[in-house]
């Protein structure tokens, strides 16, 4: 077994042009819509900036920074320690809990927002019980607060860190830990000096996802009265009807996101861990006894309860009481159609995202790593931009393209127009390319460069190496990538809301039509439907990651 760091890895300077062209093309196509919106910054409206700076912007910047740092820290701590707990220790219920801890991933944040306040708010069952026990004026932490927002967002976003950390622990760190122990390191020392450094890339990648999701959120935070820059952007757009001003301020979100990406690269460091000679044997978890075992079970169960079971139960009781009442759930007859549309859209998005991810990540091995790396980072930009902004950018890009085609008399009615299925998938792919690329890249980075060069030396073309060496070795990561994109695409609302063809309603659209009119009880059944559907890929994911390495 050997552990190679990047300094030891030799890379060729010049690569094959076709791979470079492919990944640059993906980057260009992905960046155009965002760039079209960002052009408003080139002719800035000083008045808007002055007004915003004089009034809300300073507070919004502070709130955004606080929220991002808070959610990032809590998610990383929670995700990493839970991954460590279920990987390194044996306690009652470990198997089930290690699986159940991923479940919150299926909960869309716009549903979580109203469910959290309904469960834990002043009128929710928890506080009602509390007041019954301790009197009318008994103190209870304020739910609608920055702390509330940080807790709620962390509880849905920690699974990203948890998943990646758990996978890294199992695939790589286990054997390294055992080697360190054999070489005489104490358990604590082996953890600190071997395991944590090896987890760094996974934690950094998971943390980056969490930060992006937090930055682009504008639904959940409003339930907690937290006013981020993104919330401000939407108020300018929807309240003063000034899209240009809104997109100018939106570039601030982009700056935050770029900072986060930069931070991730620093945090990941130059570390790159590849294992040759197959996977290690995995952990032999240490058995916990007595109160420690109880504490471990209780802690993990508590997280699952608060993050998933309680909100899901709240939705279920609403759904049942609605079904019993005479008004029922509106549009229930169309359920199959909404479900079908959601699935078609998800399959299309996942297919295109995976194709693009696989080609661009492989291009890094076969093309100039620096150029391709830059292109891949650029194509990830959509993940850092709120959904409606991506959607608006796609509309602008399509209008421009349409004008261009008209000028050369090449009308393609329907296909390129706003409201075509193609445009919708285009926007989805831009938004969710990053999780796909990142996960595939993480998998590929574990394939030693020696494997690539050996195969090439033996006469395989890059394409053969991609299919026959890279993909089989990175198979788990490819599946993880597909699943992450699928879950995100199933939950995505704002893009579909803006760009879908007339009559092409999805499950989230159904939920939102009701939730936006504050008909939360009636929205409960469709909301549960999304969660159940999103559970399917989450379960696939768990299954993949739990398979004992052969």
């Amino acid at each position: 077994m050997s552990i190679a760091s990047s300094s030891l890895v030799r890379r060729r300077r010049l690569g094959r042009p076709s791979w470079v062209v492919a990944s640059v093309a993906v980057a260009v196509v992905a960046v155009i819509p965002v760039a079209m919106l960002a052009t408003s910054v080139l002719r800035p409206n000083g008045e808007v900036w002055r007004e915003q700076w004089r009034t809300r912007l300073p507070d919004q910047l502070v709130a955004t920074a606080t929220l991002v740092v808070g959610v990032g820290t809590v998610s990383i701590l929670l995700g990493t320690s839970l991954a460590w707990l279920v990987s390194a220790y044996q306690f009652p219920g470990r198997r089930a809990l290690s699986w159940a801890l991923v479940l919150p991933l299926a909960m869309p944040s716009y549903i979580l927002g109203f469910v959290t306040t309904a469960v834990f708010g002043v009128a929710g069952p928890v506080q009602v019980f509390w007041r019954d026990q301790f009197g009318r004026d008994a103190w209870f932490p304020e739910v609608r607060s920055m702390t509330g927002a940080i807790v709620a967002l962390s509880l849905t976003l920690y699974p990203y860190v948890y998943l990646l950390a758990r996978a890294a622990l199992r695939d790589q760190a286990a054997s390294a830990y055992q080697v360190a122990r054999t070489l005489g390191a104490s358990s604590a020392e082996a953890t600190r000096r071997v395991v944590l450094p090896m987890l760094r890339p996974a934690i950094a990648a998971g943390g980056a996802v969490v930060v992006m999701e937090t930055l682009t959120d504008f639904g959940t935070v409003q339930y907690f009265n937290v006013e981020t820059v993104t919330v401000g952007v939407f108020r300018i757009w929807r309240g003063t009807y000034d899209r240009d001003a809104a997109s100018e301020i939106a570039t601030l979100v982009l700056v935050f996101a770029l900072l986060a990406i930069g931070l991730e690269r620093v945090a990941r460091g130059r570390a790159r861990f590849a294992e040759s000679g197959g996977r290690g044997a995995g952990w032999t978890p240490r058995r916990l006894n007595g109160w420690r075992a109880v504490a471990a079970t209780v802690a993990a169960t508590f997280v699952v309860l608060v993050a998933f079971v309680a909100p899901a139960m709240r939705l279920a009781t609403w759904a049942i009481s609605e079904q019993r009442s005479e008004r029922g759930t509106p549009m229930l007859a169309n359920f199959a159609e909404y479900l079908g549309n959601s699935l078609v859209l998800t399959v299309a998005t996942v297919s295109v995202c995976m194709l693009a991810s696989i080609v661009t990540t492989n291009a890094r091995r076969f093309g100039s790593p620096r150029l391709v790396g830059a292109a891949n980072r650029t194509s990830a930009i959509g993940y850092a931009v709120p959904g409606p902004v991506v959607g608006m950018g796609v509309i602008l890009a399509l209008v421009a393209l349409d004008g261009l085609l008209d000028r050369v008399n090449l009308g393609l009615p329907g296909a390129v127009a706003t409201g075509s299925f193609l445009a919708l998938v285009y926007a989805y792919v831009i938004r969710f390319l990053a999780p796909g690329v990142n996960a595939v890249e993480a998998g590929l980075s574990q394939v030693p460069d020696e494997a690539t060069s050996s195969a090439r030396t033996l006469g395989s073309t890059p394409r053969q190496v991609m299919w026959r060496v890279h993909l089989p070795l990175a198979r788990t990561s490819v599946i993880v990538a597909a699943v992450l994109v699928a879950v995100d695409a199933l939950k995505e609302l704002p893009i579909a809301y803006l760009l879908r063809p007339v009559g092409f309603d999805t499950l989230p659209v159904w939920v939102y039509n009701l939730a936006s009119e504050s008909r939360f009880e009636q929205a409960a059944l469709p909301a549960l439907a999304i969660i159940v559907v999103a559970l399917v890929p989450v379960i696939v994911l768990n299954h993949q990651l739990n398979r004992t390495p052969s």
Binding site: W237, G391, G414, F421, R475, L498, V502, D505, N513
Partner: protein, 351 residues
């Protein structure tokens, strides 16, 4: 490598090919879906109003024999989309909530004028655009509510402005500044009192109010004792009372000794891009909504009909009444103040 992994490339290649086929199929299907859909005899409606519209569409389609297609969305985005799609787009009618949205659509030149005696006689003048580009179809009153277990009716503030007084510190629940209805209320105060006084009131509200993300949560919190008084759209209370007739919240019509309670509207118009036949069909649809279709559109949601000859549904008629003083501010003037309302709330740091 294990023997199993040697077999994988073929599996992956096959699934890759399958994926490509699926995508191609979807693209072809998608082109069909995107391209068609606006033939003769089909009325396409873009709606920023999301609740209760389906039953009205279905009812009208059944009565008239016209096919109706519709798309719900957020208003700012629907307007962008109508503008971007232009002549190629399918939208014939744009329905929405909030005067500001209707005003903005008219500003963006998305509507055409509609000459209709039916609409002129059934919709009061203050609830339609000066150039007949849009018409209100439903009225929603944003008024004061209180929890009678915590405060006597006699002590409840009777005006929005009063809620800015220091005595109300910590006793008021209000909606956040991002909300259309809150913006519209502030716009009506600018129209009535001017910007300076409105800013003062907003500063007072900022001091006094607890802020909520939606009226339903606000009412639930009030019933649980979070605030003595609050400001909500009347139909959210109606809905609460429909579920729990004994909920401890009462309604008080605001500003009865001054300009009258703030009324916001939900309404619609015909898009500029509808051709003559579509515009004619759209007009007939609006006329139906303004007359026979009034209650199909508004009753479920407990709104007041914009057509005063139509009786409101029983719950609001009995519990809230119909004889209260309404602010007669023209809806187009109200809409024009929306932008300033947002800026003043920014200035005061409200919500």
């Amino acid at each position: 490598m294990t023997p199993q992994s040697l077999r994988r490339p073929r599996f992956l290649a096959r699934s890759g090919a399958l994926v490509v086929l699926v995508v191609l199929g979807l693209v072809v299907a998608g082109c069909g879906a995107g391209g068609g859909g606006d033939g003769a005899g089909t009325l396409t409606i873009y709606s920023g109003r999301h609740y209760g519209v389906e039953s009205a569409f279905e009812q009208y389609a059944e009565d008239s024999g016209i096919d109706i297609e519709y798309l719900t969305g957020n208003d700012a985005e629907l307007r962008e989309r109508i503008a971007a799609e232009g002549e190629d787009g399918p939208a014939d009618v744009y329905l929405t909530v909030d005067a500001g949205n209707l005003w903005a659509a008219a500003e963006d030149d998305l509507f055409q004028s509609v000459e209709s005696d039916v609409l002129d006689t059934s919709i009061p003048e203050e609830y339609r655009d000066e150039e007949n580009r849009w018409f209100a179809l439903a009225l929603r009153a944003r008024t004061i509510v209180y929890n009678p277990e915590l405060i006597d009716e006699a002590e409840v503030a009777t005006t929005y402005e009063e809620l800015a007084e220091p005595e109300w510190d910590g006793r008021v629940c209000m909606r956040n500044a991002s909300n259309d209805y809150q913006q519209s209320l502030v716009a009506s105060m600018i129209a009535a009192n001017g910007e300076e006084d409105t800013l003062d009131v907003l500063r007072g509200w900022t001091e006094n109010a607890e802020i909520f993300a939606n009226d339903v949560e606000l009412l639930d919190a009030m019933a649980a004792g979070a605030c003595e008084v609050g400001v909500v759209n009347h139909y959210y209370l109606a809905e609460m009372l429909e579920e729990e007739p004994d909920a401890p919240i009462e309604l008080l019509w605001a500003e009865q000794d001054s300009r009258g309670v703030h009324i916001n509207i939900s309404g619609g118009g015909i898009t500029r891009y509808a051709d003559d036949a579509e515009a004619e069909a759209g007009k007939a649809f609006l006329e139906w909504l303004a007359t026979d279709g009034q209650n199909t559109l508004v009753a479920d949601n407990h709104e007041y009909p914009a057509n005063s000859t139509v009786a409101p549904e029983p719950l609001i008629r009995e519990r809230f009444g119909v004889d209260f003083k309404r602010d007669t501010l023209r809806a187009d003037v109200l809409g024009s103040f929306n932008e300033r309302a947002v800026e003043l709330m920014d200035d005061a740091g409200f919500g």
